[in-house]
């Protein structure tokens, strides 16, 4: 064990975790709950990944080989739902739980018991949702966007399970967000002003507000579905005077901010990793904060760019086109700042840095295809094709997911007190990097050539692109088992890590010993400018 560089303030009621499995059930410790969230999201990531590989196996060749179209629809739907709500979002909440109290110098989250509840809701929510796959009539098969009336009038009977699962996920997210905001606003160490906060904390503060604003909208949408299905209302049923297009407006009013919920914390993570390995302070801290706030604001006024083809007045099309394009400005500021941070830095390329640089490059590519999709007249061609699939996978996989993997490698020494195997980490990176591009890059081409998404079969001219894409998917999928091996190997037999595990690392969490003690910052630490990102 590497012992304690900065002796922590031990006091008389210091005690370690309880023994046994019940520790995890009853725990109110932010580190335990962070660990639970992270392992849960990793499990969901593997489940969602298996569904993705079923999809890619079926699409390896034209024609139907392995599964029937009805089952294929369930695979696309559940892959999307599990990855969005089960893998990416809980992983970010797990990182928030682990890192925010340590980064702001607080002993724990503001509401530890609610923290426990908001995690333990999730296994039940996903248990309910995944159980529908084994029911008669099958699980959700209407796409992760669950457009009504496909998800009401024409839905399988199990849709009610799905609705309640979404309610539970929403409740969990709202509780988690309230907890995070209450922690950040009230429990910062003395001297840490808002504009000195680490960027991961800043991005999560804004993300939590987005969650509080849009999760009730999602809950409202599924509640209206519930009423349409069981209580004979007609919110989305034209026969009764309702309007199916209203569903799309409500869904995307939730859905677009949701997209940024999945990327803003990633911006925060990358803003920690790049300065560390470039050994320079982050370039343009305050512009980073304002850029995140601007993106969050814009996310509320661009939703209808997902539905240009349902018909809207010219003024509406122009408004949503221009407001969408406006998002490129703050996003460009961020990308510029990351590159400026690396400029003339003493860079080294450890695994977290590799994932962070891949994030900047590939997320930017996803951003550019997003700009193409924003152009209303051409969106009519791209809409619901594989071009859209390529776009959002480029921002979600090498975007959100790579940032989470980067964060795990970056803070793993702090969490476990042990260093991962750098050679295996690099192997994992290169397999993932090659796999992700081989999978998703050809989908741009098949999409532009007109291949529709969510279809189990395709015309022969798309065969080559799909075969390449499927090979890439299997490389990417199986390389995540390398990640799992690295994690287990590190926890069991990694080399001891120092308190400040990376020599360029700044932030209060690095002033703690590694592994971080079960109770940290019982008394607020001293906040020095040298440890802070902001000025």
């Amino acid at each position: 064990m590497s012992e304690v560089i900065h002796a922590d303030h031990h006091d008389d009621h210091h005690h370690g975790p309880e023994k046994g499995l019940l520790r995890w059930l009853y725990t109110t410790n932010h580190k335990d709950i962070g660990t639970l969230y992270l392992w849960f999201s990793f499990a969901m990531f593997l489940v969602g990944g298996v569904l993705a590989l079923v999809i890619r196996a079926e699409l390896f060749q034209p024609g139907l080989q392995f599964i029937q179209p009805e089952f294929f629809n369930q695979m696309t739907t559940n892959h999307g739902l599990i990855m969005v709500f089960g893998a990416i979002m809980p992983a970010f909440v797990g990182l928030a739980n682990w890192l925010i109290p340590m980064q702001v110098g607080a002993p724990d989250m503001a509401l530890p018991r609610m923290n426990n509840l908001s995690f333990w809701i999730l296994p039940f929510a996903f248990g309910m949702m995944i159980s529908t796959l084994f029911m008669e009539g099958g699980g959700p098969n209407f796409g992760w966007t669950f457009y009504a009336p496909l998800s009401t009038t024409y839905a399988p009977d199990s849709v009610t399970y799905f609705i309640f699962a979404v309610h539970l996920m929403g409740a969990s997210s709202i509780m988690g967000s309230i907890n995070i905001i209450a922690t950040i606003l009230n429990m910062r160490a003395p001297g840490m002003t808002l504009m000195k906060m680490p960027l991961f904390v800043w991005t999560w503060l804004i993300t939590a507000y987005l969650l509080i604003a849009v999760m009730p909208v999602l809950a409202g949408a599924v509640t209206m579905m519930l009423f349409d299905i069981h209580f004979d209302t007609s919110f989305f049923n034209a026969a009764g005077g309702g309007d199916p297009v209203m569903f799309q407006h409500i869904f995307w009013f939730f859905g677009h901010p949701e997209v940024y919920i999945m990327i803003l914390p990633a911006f925060g993570i990358v803003s920690h990793i790049i300065p560390t390995f470039a050994r320079k302070p982050l370039f343009g801290y305050s512009s980073m904060v304002y850029a995140v706030a601007s993106i969050a604001f814009l996310s509320f006024i661009v939703w209808a760019h997902h539905m240009f083809t349902v018909g809207m007045p010219l003024a509406g099309q122009l408004f949503f086109m221009y407001s969408t394009m406006l998002i490129a400005v703050p996003t460009g500021v961020k990308v510029f700042n990351w590159i400026a941070t690396m400029w003339r830095g003493s860079m080294t390329f450890e695994t977290p840095m590799l994932f962070a640089i891949a994030f900047v490059v590939l997320f930017t590519m996803g951003g550019f295809s997003g700009l193409m999709l924003a152009i209303t007249p051409v969106d009519y061609q791209y809409h619901d094709t594989y071009f859209v699939v390529a776009h959002f996978h480029y921002v979600l996989v090498p975007g959100a997911l790579f940032s989470i993997i980067a964060a795990v490698y970056f803070w793993l020494p702090k969490w476990t007190g042990k260093m991962y195997d750098e050679a295996l980490g690099k192997l994992h990176f290169w397999l993932s990097f090659i796999g992700v591009n081989v999978t998703f890059f050809p989908q741009h081409f098949s999409g532009l050539a007109g291949m529709p998404r969510r279809i189990p079969d395709y015309a022969l001219q798309f065969a080559d692109f799909n075969m390449v894409s499927s090979i890439g998917a299997f490389i990417f999928g199986f390389s995540q088992l390398v990640f799992l091996y690295i994690l287990i190997n590190t926890i069991r037999s990694g080399k001891p890590a120092e308190g400040r595990s990376w020599d360029g690392a700044k932030g209060l969490e690095w002033t703690l010993p590694s592994p971080a003690p079960y109770h940290s910052f019982t008394y607020p630490p001293e906040v020095t400018d040298a440890e802070m990102q902001g000025q």
Binding site: L111, N186, I212, V217, A219, G220, A221, A239, V245
Partner: protein
């Protein structure tokens, strides 16, 4: 420790405010449906037309300088087996003039059925200038087994129709609402729920 207590009370205040925010968003969602309808009414966003329009035909002043092509489309929703079509595919009308067209409908089953037609106008911007003085879509159609009917629809295209719109398509989707009408009658108490009904 007073510091801790002060912090706890600050946390409680923050949580209170955030709960209010959640509540506010819940109210916003509830308000979204009427707001959406209002927004559509103002902008004609979803091509929905208004209710019965009152209009004095004697005072009609047709705008002879413009001819607008009005196309009629009909379709039956999934599960609706009635025959349903317009007497003609389209007419040319002057804005401000009253027009009439009839739609044919036939119940091809051996059961009493209730139908409801839902109109939609394309382009959406024309919806607010497309006035119907009389329309079968304002009420349910109850048809006996094998019964057929000519249903009248009288309409007028408003003078204010934007100059760039030269053609309007009016589409009717016919829905089978037999079940929900019976349900409404049952729940209104006019018919006692029959056993096994």
């Amino acid at each position: 420790m007073t510091d801790r207590e002060a912090q706890q009370s600050n946390i409680n205040k923050t949580v209170g405010k955030l709960c209010l925010m959640v509540l506010g968003m819940v109210c916003f969602v509830i308000a979204l449906v009427p707001l959406y309808d209002l927004f559509c009414e103002i902008t004609g966003l979803n091509g929905k037309t208004g209710g019965p329009y009152t209009f004095d035909e004697a005072k009609a002043e047709p705008d002879k300088s413009r001819l607008i092509r009005v196309n009629f489309l009909t379709n039956t929703n999934e599960g609706m087996v009635w025959k349903f079509w317009p007497e003609k595919g389209g007419v040319r009308v002057n804005p401000g003039a009253a027009n009439s067209v009839s739609f044919y409908v036939k119940n091809t089953t051996d059961q009493v059925m209730v139908g409801q037609a839902i109109p939609s106008v394309v382009p959406g911007a024309a919806a607010e200038f497309f006035h119907k003085t009389e329309c079968f879509c304002f009420e349910h159609q109850v048809l006996q087994p094998g019964e057929e009917m000519e249903m009248p629809m009288r309409f007028i295209v408003g003078h204010e129709l934007p100059k760039n719109i030269r053609s309007i398509s009016l589409s009717y989707a016919l829905f089978d609402v037999t079940d929900s009408v019976e349900l409404a009658q049952l729940s209104s108490g006019s018919i006692a729920p029959a056993a096994g009904g």
